[in-house]
C-alpha cells in the first residue's frame, strides 16, 4: 500500500498515552511504531450499537489464525467486519496476551504518580482503556480481549506463551481500513508480558485518510469465504449492495 495521499489528520502519541476517537466507514488509520518496540492495546465498537464489539474468538476462528496481519479482518460479535488490515510492515500482531493493570505494573516497575512525574506518571493499559471507554458510555464491562498491535506472543505446542522480543522495528506500520463507523479505543502502554524490566512505553503516530473503494478482488474481502460472508453482513447492514460471494 502506497503512502496515503489525502491525509485527513495526524497525531503523535507518546508512550503510555491513551486515546479514543471515531473512524468512519471508508477511512483508513495508519499506526506507526516510531522507535521500535511499541505496543498498542486496542478495542473497537460499532458507533451505532456500542455493544457490538471487536471479538477476538470470532476473528481468530473465522480466519484460523492466532495473530493478525494482512489480509486479516477484525470481526465484530455480530458477524461483521469492523476493519481490515490492508498493509502491515511488522507481520505479527498479538490477539491473546491481554493488558497490564495497576497491580501488575506496580509489581514490575514500581509506581510513579502525577505529583512526582507530571505526565510521565506510570500508566497501565486497563485503567487507560477504561478511561477512554467511559467517554463513550462504555466501561469495565466492555474490557473484552484486545488487540496488541506490534507485539508478538508465540504459543508452543504445550500452550506455553512467550513474548518475542524485537518483533517491531522503528518505522513499522499497520494500516487499517474501517468497514464500519467504529469507536476506536487505544493506549500505548507496554505489553503485559514485555520482558523489558524498565518502564519504557514507546511513542506512535496515528494518521487517518480517505480509503479507496473496496474492489471486488480486495485481498481482505477474498481472504477466505468467512471474510466474504462477513463483508456481505456488513454491506447489508449499511443498506448497500454486497459484493458477490461464493
Amino acid at each position: 500500500m502506497s503512502k496515503p495521499s489525502s491525509i485527513i489528520w495526524s497525531e503523535h502519541l507518546p508512550g503510555g498515552a491513551h486515546w479514543s476517537g471515531v473512524m468512519r466507514r471508508g477511512t483508513c488509520l495508519r499506526i506507526t511504531d516510531l522507535e521500535g518496540g511499541a505496543n498498542v492495546p486496542m478495542l473497537m465498537s460499532n458507533l451505532e450499537v456500542l455493544s457490538e464489539r471487536y471479538n477476538m474468538p470470532d476473528t481468530l476462528k473465522a480466519q484460523k489464525t492466532a495473530f493478525l496481519t494482512v489480509p486479516n479482518a477484525c470481526f465484530s460479535d455480530m458477524g461483521r467486519v469492523l476493519c481490515s488490515v490492508i498493509s502491515d510492515t511488522c507481520g505479527w500482531h498479538d490477539t491473546i496476551g491481554g493488558i497490564s493493570n495497576a497491580n501488575s505494573l506496580a509489581e514490575k516497575y514500581g509506581t510513579l504518580n502525577y505529583q512526582k512525574a507530571n505526565n510521565d506518571y506510570f500508566k497501565n493499559a486497563y485503567d487507560s482503556l477504561v478511561n477512554e471507554l467511559e467517554k463513550w458510555d462504555m466501561g469495565a464491562k466492555d474490557m473484552v480481549p484486545n488487540i496488541n498491535w506490534f507485539s508478538k506472543i508465540r504459543v508452543e505446542n504445550d500452550g506455553a506463551m512467550t513474548f518475542v522480543e524485537g518483533n517491531s522495528s522503528a518505522g513499522s506500520y499497520v494500516d487499517l481500513r474501517f468497514e464500519m463507523d467504529t469507536v476506536v479505543v487505544l493506549s500505548t502502554a507496554q505489553h503485559p508480558l514485555d520482558t523489558n524490566p524498565e518502564y519504557a512505553p514507546k511513542p506512535i503516530e496515528l494518521t487517518a485518510w480517505k480509503a479507496e473503494p473496496v474492489q471486488s478482488d480486495d485481498a481482505c474481502l477474498r481472504h477466505r469465504a468467512e471474510n466474504e460472508r462477513a463483508f456481505y453482513n456488513t454491506a447489508i447492514y449499511y443498506g448497500e449492495k454486497p459484493h458477490d460471494f461464493s
Binding site: 481468530l60 489464525t65 492466532a66 493493570n101 473484552v144 484486545n146 503485559p192
Partner: protein, 213 residues
C-alpha cells in the same frame, strides 16, 4: 453413562442437575465450594462464564487467566482470573487434560460467517446465554458477555500462529472440577453447535455438581 461421583458423599452434595445440550444454566457457587462439570456423553463443549456474585462488573477474563499462568490451555492448578485480575476459581481436578478459553462462543451471527448465511437460524451458545440473562433476570445484558471458557473443547494453536477447532480429547465420564475462591455466579451454555467437531457433531448432556468438601 458413568457418573464420576465416586469420591463425593451424598451428604456433601449441595446441588446437582443434568443440563441437556442446547440449554442454558445459571447458578451461584459459594466461596470454598467445589463445582464439578461431568462430560456425560463425551466431547461436549460447555461454554462457561463466571461473574463475581456480588458485583457482576467483575467477571472471568480469558486474557488475564492465560497471561497469569503463561499458558493458553486450562487444566489442574489453572487459576481462573477476573478482569480485575482476582482469582475467581482454581481448577483442582481434571480428568480431561485440556480446556479452551480462546475459542469463544458460537452465535447466530458467527454461524453466518463461519458456515453459511442460512445457518443463522441454528441454535447457538449466545442465544442460550441471552435466554439465561433474560429468564433469570440478573440485570445483565449482551454487553456483559465476554470471552468464555469452553470446557472439554480442543482449540490448538501452533508456534506459527495457526488456530483451529480440533476433535475433542474428552470422553464419557470425564470431568473438570474447580474450587471457588469467591462467591461466583456461573453462566453456562451446553453447546448446541452442529457444524464443527467441538461436540463430536452430537451434542450431549452434562452434569453439574456443586458440593462441599
Amino acid at each position: 453413562m458413568t457418573l464420576a461421583n465416586e469420591n463425593i458423599q451424598p451428604s456433601q452434595v449441595v446441588y446437582r442437575e443434568v443440563v441437556e445440550a442446547g440449554d442454558p444454566w445459571m447458578h451461584v457457587v459459594k466461596a470454598g465450594q467445589k463445582f464439578r462439570i461431568v462430560d456425560l456423553g463425551g466431547n461436549q463443549a460447555v461454554d462457561t462464564l463466571f461473574y463475581n456474585a456480588d458485583n457482576h462488573d467483575e467477571r472471568y477474563s480469558a486474557t488475564d487467566t492465560i497471561k497469569g499462568q503463561g499458558n493458553i490451555y486450562l487444566t489442574t492448578d489453572s487459576v481462573l482470573r477476573s478482569n480485575l485480575n482476582n482469582p475467581m476459581l482454581t481448577i483442582t481436578a481434571d480428568t480431561c487434560g485440556r480446556h479452551d478459553t480462546i475459542g469463544g462462543a458460537c452465535s447466530a451471527e458467527s454461524n453466518t460467517v463461519r458456515y453459511s448465511i442460512d445457518k443463522r437460524h441454528m441454535h447457538s451458545c449466545r442465544d442460550s446465554f441471552l435466554k439465561a440473562l433474560s429468564k433469570w433476570n440478573e440485570g445483565m445484558k449482551k454487553s456483559d458477555l465476554s470471552s468464555n471458557i469452553n470446557f472439554f473443547m480442543n482449540v490448538p494453536v501452533s508456534p506459527e500462529g495457526h488456530l483451529d477447532f480440533d476433535d475433542g480429547i474428552s470422553a464419557p465420564g470425564r470431568f473438570v472440577e474447580m474450587t471457588a475462591e469467591m462467591d461466583v455466579l456461573v453462566l453456562v451454555s451446553n453447546c448446541p453447535q452442529l457444524n464443527n467437531p467441538c461436540n463430536g457433531y452430537n451434542p450431549t448432556p452434562v452434569e453439574m455438581i456443586i458440593w462441599q468438601a
